[in-house]
């Protein structure tokens, strides 16, 4: 595997020109933040991730997490020491609140750090990601006492967090879970049951693990309305904050997976002996509320995994394409074979990777910025607008982003030819790792349904309409800048997207909307990507006039946006028919007849 080069210029470009970091840094909550400081943070994070985390990626895959008979799970020593360095340097605390020892930086800066961590080692990044979810849950729903006990250590990363939702019969349908929580006289609960697919549910990289567990109290209503959230620490915590007795939660086994081998995926059993001690978070039966608090953040992070794997795969494929010589490109001297990057098809594959990567990075960072506005805007209007935008973009970041992750890493293998299919080049690992992202944290099918049934109707359709208006508003500037191919293709893409949106909104049969959801979500992602690429092209175009040593960089931004407009945006047209077809054909054949 080649070295990881943090794409700092691309990240800074997006923050500066697409996301509007300066406006966010100007918010009163971010008085301690400015652009230069944020960029310095990103530079140092990038160096750290490239030097200390990225080298653990291959060993993490080859050795993986190991489950022992006594229930312990151990990680390769390289991962253990990298985690300790990561915590010591403070990288776990970038966007956490300052009152609990966090650095209080915007999510839009935090996402840059998280992107680089994820790209350096996706399996590793899942541990801080789950910890971040636990932090959010406690921050918004925990008691002052719970915050005092757990937040500081979770924020620093000395302890890690998990989210324990899934049970064998309760996956996408979380309401079907049966783990029990019996109230005790001392106010605590005893948890009994089994959870599966618990990411980083047991490990040896940190001193304690704080499990956040969904369970039912006696007599709770069925379905999602009867779910409560509990803190179940691996080790109970003494009054003075020190680590006490081992709790009755044990790792029964870990899964053997396609990828992310350094991320232990655990089966956890609660209450095999005395019963696992649990502490209620919020009120009984309010567990789903806490879940929703975390969902936007966690789904964006999983989307980021699509970006991260694609970026790593692209860097590797680009280097290979420059070194590998095969055949003779048109016009090349007769005596020598050409680097494969000179062949049009290889160039197309590389450009497809680069353009999609830039498009999804911009969308995801915009999503992060929306979360900043939602939480730190100065008035209700700003906060609501931010929350609505984040809600709209999240299923796209997760669904479109992780589908692209799988597709682009597959292209990365293709560029390597036969060597791509051989593990030692490392491109195979990236593709294997990518495959989980469309599945967990709400499958991409669920993301598409979320977009169509929950997000399009927000505020009577005004949220999505105003996003479309924003895209429309680029028409004039694109024309004035002479970026005609981008202007034309973006307008065409928006037109078909509007058409499909109207069709979905007009259907009475909800099955029609559900049937259209997946091709529609893809179409939305493609057009939204075109919007961000157009925005980037406009910024780069105006920067070209005053470029100081960076002319090549800005020119490439414009060209990449043109490629996206001409080669990728037109795919939206092709999705119109499928996005507006009634569900009849999906159900016309009886399940038995599907066997043929």
């Amino acid at each position: 595997m080649t070295d990881y080069r943090p794409p700092l210029r691309d990240i800074k470009f997006v923050l500066e020109h697409v996301v509007g970091l300066d406006d966010i840094a100007a918010l009163p909550d971010f008085e301690h933040v400015d652009r230069d400081l944020s960029f310095t943070v990103l530079d140092e994070a990038g160096r750290f991730m490239a030097d200390r985390i990225a080298p653990t990626n291959q060993v993490g895959d080859a050795e993986g997490a190991i489950h022992h008979d006594d229930g312990r799970v151990t990680l390769p020593k390289e991962i253990r020491s990298a985690y300790q360095e990561y915590v010591a340097a403070g990288w776990n605390a970038v966007k956490a609140p300052m009152e609990y020892g966090g650095h209080g930086f915007p999510t839009s800066v935090g996402i840059g750090v998280m992107e680089m961590l994820t790209t350096a080692n996706m399996a590793f990044s899942l541990c801080p990601m789950l910890t971040a979810s636990a932090i959010l849950a406690l921050q918004h729903h925990g008691t002052e006492e719970q915050k005092a006990i757990y937040l500081e250590k979770l924020i620093s990363g000395e302890w890690t967090g998990t989210m324990d939702l899934t049970e064998p019969q309760a996956g996408s349908d979380v309401g079907a879970l049966t783990t029990k929580a019996e109230p005790q006289d001392d106010g605590t609960y005893r948890i009994t049951g089994t959870k599966i697919f618990i990411t980083w549910g047991e490990h040896d990289v940190a001193d304690n693990i704080i499990h956040l567990v969904l369970a039912r109290t006696p007599g709770a209503p069925p379905g999602t309305k009867g779910i409560s959230l509990f803190i179940v620490p691996k080790y109970l915590v003494n009054a003075d904050g020190s680590i006490g007795e081992r709790n009755d939660v044990n790792c029964v086994s870990i899964e053997h997976k396609i990828g992310i081998h350094a991320s232990p995926t655990c089966v956890l059993s609660y209450g095999d002996n005395a019963g696992a001690v649990g502490y209620l978070v919020g009120a009984e039966n309010q567990g789903m509320r806490a879940m929703f608090t975390m969902m936007n953040d966690a789904r964006l992070h999983v989307g980021l995994e699509g970006l991260g794997v694609a970026e790593r795969s692209y860097q590797q494929a680009l280097e290979y394409a420059q070194e590998r010589r095969q055949g003779r490109a048109i016009g090349a001297p007769k005596t020598e074979s050409s680097p494969i990057i000179d062949h049009p098809d290889v160039r197309r594959m590389l450009m497809t990777m680069k353009a999609n990567i830039e498009a999804m990075r911009a969308l995801m960072y915009d999503n992060a910025a929306a979360l900043d506005w939602a939480e730190h805007g100065v008035d209700d209007e700003q906060r609501q607008r931010g929350a609505a935008r984040a809600a709209l973009l999240t299923p796209l970041a997760k669904g479109w982003g992780t589908d692209l992750g799988v597709e682009l890493t597959s292209i990365g293998i293709q560029i390597h030819g036969g060597m791509g299919y051989v593990e030692e080049t490392g491109s195979a690992q990236i593709w294997r790792d990518s495959r989980i992202a469309p599945i967990y944290e709400g499958t991409n099918g669920i993301q598409a349904i979320d977009l169509v049934l929950r997000k399009l109707p927000m505020d009577g359709g005004k949220v999505v309409a105003s996003y479309f208006d924003e895209i429309d508003a680029l028409d004039g500037p694109l024309g004035a800048a002479g970026l005609d191919s981008i202007r034309e293709r973006l307008a065409a893409g928006l037109a078909v997207l509007r058409k499909a949106t109207d069709w979905i909104g007009s259907r009475d049969d909800v099955n029609d909307a559900l049937a259209a959801a997946t091709p529609y979500a893809r179409m939305f992602g493609i057009v939204a990507g075109g919007y961000y690429m157009a925005k980037a092209a406009l910024a780069a175009h105006s920067a070209l006039g005053s470029a100081n040593g960076d002319a090549g960089f800005y020119a490439a931004k414009v060209t990449t946006a043109q490629f996206y407009a001409e080669q990728i945006l037109p795919q939206a047209d092709g999705l119109l028919a499928a996005s507006t077809a009634p569900s009849d054909s999906l159900f016309a054949i009886e399940p038995e007849a599907l066997r043929g």
């Binding site: 230069d36 530079d43 750290f48 340097a89 403070g90 605390a93 970038v94 960089f553």
Partner: protein
């Protein structure tokens, strides 16, 4: 112990840069980075300062830009920085550079000066010794290890072709360190935040008592010649002798 560390901000080697068509100087971007080889010197200085409750001052001559490169070294833990940024120093030769650095170091006061062996963009490799001469202190060069001797002197292991020499000098003294002398620390988030408010003095030539006398100009810049085809040695049973002869000729054995 008051320690001065010579550091340099350079254009990021990872990003392509342009040459000014008239002067042939590198067009300096606003964002510059700390020369990677300087991280070793900063780390040695920090360790010695921690051991002696001393202080670390960074000394630099370069266009300030947004001071990003300097802040990187401050984020590692240095206490303050002095940067001489003067338009008239553009394209300075090594002697002028040494005079400026020596002037700034003298102005700050020092017991120990630490520098890398050479910069990653200029590669002259003579500035530290010129600085030592101008400061009238001994120069201990190519340190692969630096430690304090019992009597407050500085002792180094000087890398040589055959191994190393142990060399020692009382302070004040100048030491140049090789890459690999220590493992440079990564700045912590806290360090980065603190660096923002650490003092950075920006000085001009007059402040350090130097009037630039640079007379060198860059006449032309030519592209690197294309790599020539390698020489193939056919093994007729005596091939090894030819290879040995070739290796001797290029002085690698």
């Amino acid at each position: 112990m008051r320690i001065a560390v010579c550091v340099k901000q350079i254009p990021d080697p990872a990003t392509p840069y342009e040459l000014d068509p008239d002067s042939h100087y590198v067009v300096r971007p606003n964002d510059q980075v700390l020369d990677d080889t300087d991280r070793y010197g900063v780390e040695v200085a920090l360790q010695l300062a921690e051991a002696t409750e001393g202080s670390v001052t960074l000394v630099s001559m370069s266009p300030s830009g947004n001071l990003q490169g300097i802040r990187q070294a401050l984020a590692m833990g240095a206490d303050k920085a002095v940067i001489v940024d003067d338009e008239s120093l553009r394209g300075s030769d090594s002697l002028t550079t040494a005079k400026v650095l020596a002037g700034a170091i003298q102005r700050e006061g020092f017991d120990l000066v630490i520098a890398g062996t050479e910069s990653t963009d200029g590669y002259t490799g003579v500035v530290p010794q010129q600085v030592a001469e101008l400061l009238d202190v001994p120069s201990l060069s190519f340190a692969k290890k630096v430690e304090l001797a019992e009597d407050g002197a500085v002792r180094i292991e000087r890398q040589t072709a055959a191994g190393y020499d142990v060399v020692q000098s009382a302070v004040p003294v100048l030491v140049t360190v090789t890459s690999g002398v220590v493992e440079p620390r990564y700045p912590t988030f806290k360090g980065i935040m603190q660096a923002k408010s650490k003092p950075v003095d920006t000085l001009g030539c007059g402040d350090v008592g130097v009037s630039p006398t640079t007379t060198q100009t860059i006449q032309a810049v030519e592209p690197v010649p294309a790599r020539e085809a390698g020489e193939i040695v056919e093994d007729d049973g005596e091939g090894y002798a030819k290879i040995v002869a070739m290796l001797e000729q290029v002085k690698v054995i």
